[in-house]
């Protein structure tokens, strides 16, 4: 049988990344490498160089293309490929980069890439990806996957823009194999998202293992994750597999990853890099091929600064970031979710309850929801169980008054709140797009530097924090 041909498009020949990649894939596939020394960007597509490149790809006719590039030139390269608009872009494309920047990676996956890899390159990382892509490209998106995408995603309820922006990333990130970090307050649906990613990915049909790291006593975490050999400690009479072994081939979901003791974080990082680990007391190294999705309800950058999460682990996990909004930040979804839970529990408890009174809806909307969607679900379930009427009214909704926004917020108060919100988002966005340079950001906002600085202080924006996020 003819071996599949792989093309390495080396756009960063001064680095050894392409050589490492070539060594790994040459053992299994025919490899052809094209080195391009010149910088390419959106304008290059119309030049001779761009045209030659556009011709060389169909001539080689590869089954998979690896694009090796440095992180700082990734955006230009994406724009170049995007402007090519040629048939070759139907070939699965894997981006290989020294280190990834989550937003740019999402942009690649949205527009062009099937997957991507970051340093260090490992056989166990690279080869299964290629086999998976070859399997996928040999058959179009199956009917089952298309329907699953449509129906399964219906579990993620919400129409607000902030929520949709995150949820729409799920089918895109599901098809690649990169680590994902999901952040969001407790009860915002992190596990639902992780599960959707698993079942829409090529790993569906294998194990999905959710683990709440916060619920495992610190001294048992390593044993739980990596397992132990017989005799590893006094009560270890027989060997026991860990969760990593259980999840082999599938997905391991580490919720509250910030609760992992630092020693376990080191071991997890090593596993993520090498795809191999050693069970407690074992002499042999074990291998596992799985995808890790981590989640935290903390601000992870702060957790890194406070030493709760190791910085190197954070970078390894945060290849793709999903940030789920709190329920109070998507108030427009509250009635939708409330009706969803009402229908769900009306069937389960066999109650003839059909809807909510206007005062019940108002009460739900004005509540702060510190426990987010999970709290809303429990409140609706309780109201339904205790209600004897066909309509749930305000008095049936048992929520604390201390978390309820003032009912009679004046127009001016509401306006001030929105202006505050807008100013904060606007300034943060401007700073991020200007590499946190205050003078340049002020100029772009057409404000003087001093007034701009006052706004930064008013909203307590940490420029240093943004800088570390942008770098």
């Amino acid at each position: 049988m003819k071996r599949p041909k792989i093309l390495i498009l080396n756009l960063n020949p001064s680095e050894s990344l392409a050589d490492e990649l070539r060594c790994i894939i040459e053992s299994q596939f025919d490899v052809e490498e094209v080195k391009i020394w010149q910088k390419i960007d959106a304008n290059s597509a119309s030049t001779d160089r761009g045209q030659k490149l556009a011709q060389v790809i169909p001539r080689i006719n590869p089954s998979v293309i690896f694009v090796v590039q440095s992180a700082d030139r990734l955006k230009d390269t994406r724009q170049f490929f995007h402007s090519l608009r040629i048939e070759v872009l139907k070939i699965p494309l894997v981006v290989v980069v020294d280190e990834g920047e989550p937003d740019e990676m999402i942009a690649w996956i949205r527009q062009l890439a099937a997957d991507f890899l970051t340093k260090p390159l490992k056989r166990i990382d690279v080869l299964p990806r290629v086999w998976r892509l070859l399997d996928q490209s040999s058959e179009p998106e199956s009917h089952l996957l298309a329907v699953k995408k449509q129906l399964g995603m219906r579990e993620l309820i919400g129409e607000s823009e902030t929520f949709r922006a995150q949820i729409e990333k799920i089918p895109l990130v599901a098809k690649c194999d990169a680590s994902i970090l999901i952040t969001g307050d407790t009860g915002t649906g992190k596990e639902l998202c992780a599960r959707a990613i698993h079942y829409l990915s090529p790993r569906a049909g294998r194990a999905f293992i959710p683990v709440n790291c916060g619920a495992i006593p610190g001294e048992l975490v390593e044993n739980e994750l990596f397992g132990h050999a017989a005799g590893a400690f006094t009560s270890a009479k027989t060997a026991q597999h860990g969760l990593i072994d259980e999840a082999n081939g599938g997905t391991l979901f580490l919720d509250e990853v910030d609760c992992l003791p630092l020693m376990a974080q080191v071991k997890l990082l090593r596993f993520l890099q090498e795809k191999e680990y050693r069970a407690l007391g074992a002499t042999k190294i074990a291998k596992a091929d799985l995808r890790v999705i981590a989640a935290s309800s903390l601000n992870c950058e702060e957790a890194v600064r406070e030493g709760k999460i190791r910085q190197d682990l954070y970078y390894r996990l945060n290849v793709i970031l999903l940030t789920l909004p709190a329920l109070r930040d998507r108030q427009e979804d509250i009635p939708l979710l409330a009706h969803h839970f009402l229908n769900k529990y009306a069937i389960e408890f066999d109650k003839q309850v059909t809807g909510f009174s206007p005062d019940a809806i108002r009460k739900l909307i004005l509540y702060n929801w510190p426990g987010n969607v999970r709290e809303l679900e429990h409140v609706i379930m309780r109201a339904l169980v205790l209600s004897a009427k066909p309509i749930i009214c305000g008095a049936d909704i048992a929520i604390s008054d201390s978390e309820t926004l003032p009912l009679a917020e004046s127009f001016q108060e509401a306006k001030n709140r929105m202006v505050d919100q807008f100013e904060k988002t606007y300034i943060k966005g401007l700073l991020l797009s200007n590499h946190c340079n205050i003078s340049r950001s002020a100029k772009a906002a057409q404000k003087n530097r001093r007034a701009f600085w006052e706004l930064i202080r008013k909203h307590d924006i940490s420029v240093q924090g943004l800088k570390s996020r942008a770098s």
């Binding site: 129906l151 399964g152 599960r195 294998r206 194990a207 999905f208 081939g249």
Partner: protein, 89 residues
């Protein structure tokens, strides 16, 4: 066990036979395993029903250049279809 429970039990077992390495909690089984089984079963049933209708010449099947088959009503059999539907109701 009642019929519905037995049916679901069989569906879970079938999923596990099809995917011997699968593992998940209740939430995942409800949302994803059973969804997948339902889609597969429905697809199979619809496929068989369509084959029967095409064989009876009540529905026409046309394969396009993209190799996908499109189904449409056989206009010449309209009266027969209406009478079949009336009989059924």
């Amino acid at each position: 066990m009642n019929d519905e429970k037995v049916q679901i039990a069989y569906e879970i077992l079938q999923y596990l036979i099809d995917n011997p390495k699968a593992q998940d909690t209740l939430e995942g089984i409800v949302t994803w395993w059973l969804l997948e089984r339902t889609i597969k079963q429905q697809t199979l049933l619809v496929k068989e029903a369509l084959a029967m209708l095409v064989k009876d010449r009540l529905v026409l099947a046309q394969t396009g250049n993209d190799s996908r088959t499109h189904y449409k009503i056989n206009g010449r059999q309209r009266k027969r279809i209406i009478s079949l539907l009336q009989q059924e109701s």
